[in-house]
């Protein structure tokens, strides 16, 4: 069942981190390959001709693209180890809904926070916090979104934590001050080896963002 597993990834990508966490949670060995996005490998272009993006999970030579699809695939193939997606259909639907919400909101709003200034940035910050608060509501008193163990929503959301410091510096605000429950949840997740070793250092991500801002000519 294991076979050959390769993950084409880029170290600061929150989407790549999702698959890293899922594989680590299940203790599945794989080969990590770092892509230079300014000089994409032939393998990447061959395996994801439609989007030409990372992450790409290659299992026995067959590519699975899109992080949410990868996490579901990993969960379905290695279903007996550390299940991430609930077994009850309704709980699954709830989890999928929130992962869809995260995908629609968090990355885009976060991007606006570091890319823009003035009113556009202020609006992005406001909406970003509102979204985190909605997620806090969904978390409630649970240890993780998945209950007592890490689940699909946790895996989908926690990678963005590695970008929080960059968002805070660029946006001049404190996420912890606004959403303490969210940060408490993050800290619980970070105590898990699968998460801690899959997320890059926040300072490193911030430096990366500063480089991007230079390249894009953003002040």
């Amino acid at each position: 069942m294991a076979g050959e597993l390769v993950l084409l990834d880029f170290w600061p990508s929150p989407f790549g981190m999702r698959s890293r966490i899922a594989l680590a949670e299940k203790g599945i060995p794989y080969e990590y390959r770092e892509e230079d996005l300014r000089n994409k490998s032939d393998l990447l272009l061959q395996m994801n001709p439609v989007h030409k993006k990372i992450p790409v999970l290659i299992h026995n030579g067959k590519p699975v693209c899109e992080s949410v699809i990868q996490v579901q695939y990993i969960d379905e193939v290695w279903h007996d180890k550390a299940p991430l997606i609930p077994s009850d259909p309704y709980q699954r639907a709830v989890a999928r809904f929130w992962v869809d919400f995260i995908d629609k909101k968090i990355y885009e709003l976060g991007s606006k926070i570091w890319k823009t200034k003035g009113e556009e940035q202020a609006n992005a910050k406001k909406e970003f916090i509102e979204c985190l608060k909605l997620l806090e509501g969904e978390l409630g008193d649970k240890t993780y979104f998945g209950g007592e163990s890490l689940g699909y929503v946790d895996v989908a959301l926690v990678p963005f934590y590695s970008w929080f410091y960059a968002y805070e510096k660029c946006g001049d605000f404190s996420i912890e001050a606004e959403c303490p429950k969210m940060i408490a949840w993050v800290k619980r997740c970070m105590q898990k080896e699968s998460v801690a070793k899959s997320l890059p250092d926040q300072e490193k991500v911030y430096e990366f963002i500063l480089q991007l801002k230079k390249v894009f000519g953003i002040e």
């Binding site: 699975v64 309704y90 639907a93 999928r96």
Partner: protein, 221 residues
Amino acid sequence: MGEEVTFHGMWASPFSRRVELALKLKAIPYQYIEEDLSNKTPSLLRYNPVHKKVPVLVHNDKPVAESMVIIEYMDETWENNPFLPRDPYERAMARFYAKFIDDKLLPTLAKLGQTAGKEKEETIEEIHEQLKVLEDELKGKQFFGGQRIGYLDIVAMILVWLHLAGSITGQKVLSTEKFPLIYEWIERVMKMEVVNECLIPEEKRQDWIQLAQRAPKSASN
């Protein structure tokens, strides 16, 4: 699994019609509530407080929102006429192309109504590239789902809508020469009664075109 199923939808929304088709394919009895998007019912707002959009499926008073989440929920709850294949890799492929339609094709189609001149030509070029992806996916298959209609066919119904729009406006983005397999697929699915039941009725199609041209963003709003 006989129980109470209610479905909040809107006649012109492709997302809503998707869920309607899924319900009919599994022959699930349901109560339909037509939403006026300028005057949403209190129950819609209660069942989907996050997005306040259609479609919403309510099963025994438990709401499910977002069309693809609904469709997967239905597939897992009512096991007849399965939509998704059993094999994890084939499931991943079906989900990938469905996401491609929603994330890429639909936004580009929405843009089309708002462009003119050179920008319109470029948008049509982009749509053709995206349609080619789907054309290739049909090679050697009767339906996107293989021998029978499945998950991806339900999402790909947007191609039927595109074809209908082209017949009305005269602007055929979907040409038979460029996309013969898609055309064959359209003809094949349009022979199915359930598919026709979920298309916009003929008498409302002009209204629908005008609606789409005025408000290019997703009608499930």
